[in-house]
Each structure stands twice: as structure tokens, then as C-alpha cells.
């Protein structure tokens, strides 16, 4: 079987990261990479190069407007959107990683190569409707992430977090698998799109086993989205993992899972009318639960990373509300929100690196007065937090705006009200971040510690933070470009993706 050049160029974006991963794996076989700085440099450069190249090919593909589909792959605009999304996230992660792992004193090539494998897996996961590839993609990005969470073995928490993530994740993917198998069994094909057609043709749309299958598939997705009650791994895993990885997980995993959910349930399975309706009613309930629980729990966190983790859970709630509305505009809103969310969260986690906060427990007290010490970072932090809280003119507001508007338009006024109340609560703990940064003077002994600790030097992390801040602001002022030019085209240009 041979591919046409165009197909190759479409395949390259997936190929390059994995190639880069293999290269890095080879490099990191060197024993004393800890001492040899240039090797580390080369590894990170390679990783960036791979990501960059893949990004380049994706943008070329996007601009060419081609949407090839070969093997079980569908490199349509949605897939390209996902690719760009994931690649940007990973690039930011790599840059922040350089600083963070140096602060941790744990610079390993494996980390990068696992990250790149995860990237490949995510792109696969979001660009196919064929269950085999879907499942393999899922595993290809889950397994490296399990490993990444536990990668910094110095800290006892790390392996515990990884273990929890792994066990829950394995259960979830088993359910996912079982669901897929059931649907295959009753339809006879492994491609979910075709399966849905066939099932409807055979009048098995409401066969109990089909419904069970769909439900189990949904479990797999919701676990990755970390929606209540499949969310409990999130805070532990985030706290255990290095900041950049936590940021990457919070952004990429969620995003990819949502896009896949959109592709599968919003598109492929639509022939099974009953499934779609049930999915929406379930998601409605879970979204509400997610909003309430995520926000309330985030309110009482004293550990910054856990707070961010719960906030990411609550954001999953907002994003799922978009699925409740289920209109094209709402899906556009979801994608738009994802873009801003990428910037906000990568930025927020990047801040921790930029502030040079390493160690197990990072509490709000560690942030005291940093806003004045590092003005640029402080302003960026203000932008992120206000945007997360959904205060205009930050980008986060527009995402919420679109989703809530569609909710109201589709008659879910009650949910919209609950949503705004939730974001009211969230405003409180985001403000707490700013209170710590600006409104509280550091305690005396904290000052003393800071004085004898060497000055924080995190140029890359700082850079990424500023970039993210710029993106968030851009989301606030160029909202049309992002929403219509990027998010909307990713949906609408795809043939019949939105029915």
C-alpha cells in the first residue's frame, strides 16, 4: 500500500514527533546527560524541532485547505485544529520543562520522548473514527502520561500520583474497550461511523448492548475530560507531576478528549438518535455536578496546584455545558474556549516555574508579594486569573459568553444561571491567587529564605508565560479571528461534521 505525496505530507505531522521521540531516546542513552549540558540542549532542541516541523506541516495543510483521509485517519480540519492545539501545548511544555527540570535537578531525555509519544497519540486519538486506532491512540497518549506523572522519582508523591492515575486510567480504558467491542459485535465493523449507520439500518439503534457500549465509550471520554465523578485522579496526578506536565495534561488531555467526544458522539454516532439524546442528558447532569463540585472544592484548597487542578475540573464543566447546548455555535464556543484555556492554564502552570517554585507543596503563601517582585509575571498572572474567572476583556470571558449564550438560546436558562454562579464562586479563589501575589506582604522568614536562595532564572518559562498572556489578551480583542477564522472553520469546513 503506497501513499500519495499529499497523504504523506498529511501523515508527516504525526510521524515527526514520534521520530523525534526515537531520536531523543537514542540520545538519552548517554549515561551522564546530567553533566553534559550540550546533550540536554540538543535533546530539547530536537524535541522543539520535531514539534515545530510537525506544526509547520500542519499549518501548510491547514492553509492548503486539504482534508485528506487515508488508512483509518481523517486529517480533516478538526484533526488539524487538534494537532495545532496539541503541538502548541507541547512546545510550551518543552520550554517550561527546560527551566522546571533544571530547577528540580532532574533533566531526563525520557521525559521529552514520552511527551512526544503522547503528542502523537493525542493527534491520532482525535483524528479517527476507527475504534482500533482510537483505542491505540488513547493508550499511546495515556501510557506515557502515566509514566510522566511519576517521572520525577525524587519525590515520593510522584509515583503515588502516577499509580493512582494509572489504575483509574486502566479501569477507564478497559471500559472504553469493552464498549467498543460491544458496538463492534452488534454492528460487525470497527469503524464507529459505519457501525452507527449499520446499526440504524438493522434497527438495532436501541439494542440494550449498543446502549451499554455507547455508555462505556462515554465513560472513557469523560474520564479523560475529568468530569465528576471520573475526576478524582486529577488533583493527585497534577500535584504529583512536574508543573509543565501538569499543565500539559490539564490542557491537552482535556482538549483532545473533548474533541474526540465531539467527533464521535457529536458526529459519528449521530445516526443513533437515542444515543445522542441520552449523551446530552447525562452530560447535562455531570456538567452541573462538575461545576458545583469542582468550584466548591477549589475554594478550600491551600495548595496552588490542587487549586488549579480543581479549577481545570470546573472548566471541564463549562466545556461540557457546550455539549449540552449542542449547537454549532456552542461547539465553536467550546473550541474557542479550548484555545484560550490552553493559554490560560499553560500560563498559570508556567507561572509556578517562572517563579521558581519547586517542591512538593506550593501554597498560596509561597506566592506572597511575588507580583511586585516580578512585575511582568505579576501582570501576566492577573491576566490569567481574571481570564479564568471570566472577567472581560480577557479571552476567557468570550468562551463563557458563547457557551452560555447558546445554553440560553437552547432554553437551558437554569443551567446558564448555575454556570454564572459557579464562575462567581470561582472568581473568589482566582482572586485569592492575586491577593497572594499583590495584596499580601511575604512573611519575614519567607523573605529570609528567598534571600539565601539563588535568584530565580527561568527565561523560557517566563517567555512562555508572556506568550500565553498575549494569547489570552488576543482572545479578548481579536475574538472574531480566533472564533470564526480558527475554531469555526475547524468545525464547519469539515464535510457534514456538524449536522
Amino acid at each position: 500500500m503506497n501513499l500519495s505525496p499529499s497523504q504523506w505530507s498529511a501523515l508527516l505531522p504525526l510521524l515527526l514527533p514520534s521520530v523525534g521521540a526515537c531520536l531523543i531516546a537514542i540520545m538519552s542513552m548517554d549515561k551522564d546527560q546530567v553533566t553534559e549540558k550540550w546533550i540536554r540542549g540538543v535533546m530539547y532542541a530536537t524535541a522543539l524541532l520535531a514539534v515545530g516541523a510537525s506544526f509547520y506541516y500542519l499549518t501548510v495543510l491547514w492553509n492548503s485547505g486539504g482534508q485528506p483521509s487515508f488508512f483509518q485517519l481523517r486529517m480533516d480540519r478538526l484533526a488539524q485544529f487538534t494537532g495545532i492545539f496539541v503541538l502548541v501545548a507541547s512546545a510550551l511544555t518543552i520550554l517550561q520543562g527546560w527551566d522546571h527540570f533544571h530547577q528540580e535537578g532532574w533533566v531526563k531525555g525520557e521525559t521529552l520522548c514520552l511527551l512526544l509519544f503522547a503528542v502523537t497519540g493525542m493527534m491520532l486519538f482525535a483524528s479517527t473514527t476507527h475504534f482500533v486506532v482510537l483505542f491505540l491512540g488513547l493508550e499511546l497518549f495515556s501510557l506515557p502520561l502515566y509514566a510522566l506523572v511519576g517521572t520525577v522519582r525524587l519525590r515520593p508523591e510522584s509515583s503515588e500520583g502516577g499509580m493512582k492515575y494509572f489504575l483509574t486510567g486502566a479501569v477507564a480504558s478497559s471500559c472504553f474497550l469493552m464498549g467498543g467491542v460491544l458496538i463492534y459485535g452488534l454492528s460487525g465493523t470497527l469503524d464507529l461511523g459505519t457501525a452507527a449507520m449499520l446499526l440504524r439500518a438493522q434497527g438495532l439503534a436501541l439494542d440494550p448492548l449498543v446502549l451499554v457500549g455507547a455508555a462505556l465509550l462515554l465513560v472513557g471520554f469523560l474520564f479523560k475530560v475529568s468530569a465528576v465523578p471520573f475526576h478524582q485522579w486529577t488533583p493527585d496526578a497534577y500535584e504529583a507531576s512536574p508543573h509543565p506536565i501538569a499543565g500539559f495534561m490539564s490542557v491537552a488531555t482535556k482538549g483532545v478528549a473533548l474533541i474526540a467526544l465531539l467527533r464521535i458522539f457529536g458526529n459519528s454516532l449521530t445516526p443513533l438518535a437515542g444515543v445522542g439524546a441520552r449523551m446530552q442528558s447525562v452530560v447535562a447532569v455531570l456538567a452541573v455536578a462538575t461545576l458545583v463540585l469542582g468550584n466548591l472544592t477549589a475554594l478550600v484548597q491551600s495548595n496552588v496546584k490542587r487549586m488549579l487542578a480543581y479549577s481545570s475540573i470546573s472548566h471541564a464543566g463549562y466545556l461540557l455545558l457546550g455539549f449540552v447546548a449542542g449547537t454549532p455555535a456552542a461547539y465553536t464556543g467550546v473550541l474557542y474556549y479550548l484555545v484560550i484555556y490552553l493559554a490560560m492554564n499553560m500560563g498559570a502552570f508556567g507561572l509556578l516555574t517562572a517563579f521558581g517554585l519547586v517542591g512538593d507543596q506550593i501554597t498560596f503563601d509561597d506566592l506572597r508579594g511575588l507580583g511586585w517582585k516580578r512585575p511582568a509575571m505579576g501582570i501576566a498572572a492577573a491576566i490569567f486569573m481574571l481570564s479564568l474567572a471570566g472577567i472581560p476583556p480577557m479571552g476567557g470571558f468570550y468562551g463563557k459568553y458563547m457557551i452560555f449564550r447558546e445554553l440560553v438560546a437552547t432554553g437551558h436558562v437554569g443551567m446558564a444561571i448555575l454556570g454564572v454562579l459557579a464562575s462567581l464562586v470561582s472568581a473568589y479563589y482566582y482572586l485569592r491567587f492575586l491577593v497572594a501575589l499583590y495584596l499580601q506582604a511575604p512573611s519575614a522568614e519567607a523573605e529570609r529564605l528567598a534571600s539565601d536562595r539563588p535568584a530565580v532564572h527561568a527565561p523560557f518559562a517566563g517567555g512562555t508565560v508572556l506568550v500565553c498572556a498575549a494569547i489570552v489578551l488576543a482572545g479578548g480583542f481579536l475574538q472574531t479571528f480566533l472564533a470564526d477564522g480558527f475554531a469555526r472553520r475547524a468545525l464547519v469546513d469539515v464535510a457534514g461534521l456538524i449536522r
Binding site: 493508550e139 515520593p156 508523591e157 503515588e160 486502566a170 478497559s174 459485535g185 460487525g188 490542587r306
Partner: protein
Amino acid sequence: MSGLDAILQGGLQGYLVVALLLFAIGLATVLLRRTLLMQFMGVELMLNAANVALLAFARFRGGDAQAMVFYLFIIAVAACEAAIGLALVIGLYRHRDTTDSDRAASLKQ
């Protein structure tokens, strides 16, 4: 043939029931046992359950090779999960000197 003997005489239903029960047992292991390795085996059982169902369906679809291929991939995945999972268990054991998941609960709230 009616439900029950369909199961007993090894009709498709029988295999499916076995698969689902196996799945349930695996889940039960994860939920009830505290030893990480046991819970891990439970996961393996759940994967196996999926295999049983898959191949049963394949058989009743006239030996569908697609399913068989998928079965291969699942085995690969199972192996990978084994590798990662056991590595994590070992890592945890090195720090905590325990394989009891309830004792590895320092991350909470």
C-alpha cells in the same frame, strides 16, 4: 433456543455472559483488594473479558479477521500496561515500602 440453555450450550450469549462476568470480577478485584498487584491483575482480567467478547463476536461473524487483529493489539496494550503499571508499583514500593494502595494516600483533599 431460549435464554438459559443458550448460555449453557455455549451460544454467543454464553460467551458474552462469561465475558461480562469476568469483567465484573476484574472490577470487583480493583474495588475490593488493597494490594496494588491484585488490583493490577483485576485490570488485566477486565481486558481479558473484552478479549473474550471480541473473539466470540468474531466467531459468530464468520471468523472476522479484523477482530483478530484488534485482539493482537489489545494483547500488546495489555503488555504495555503491565510494563508501566509494574514499574509504577515498584517505584512506589521503593519510596513507601508497601504495595497497599490504601497506605499510599498522602495526596488527598
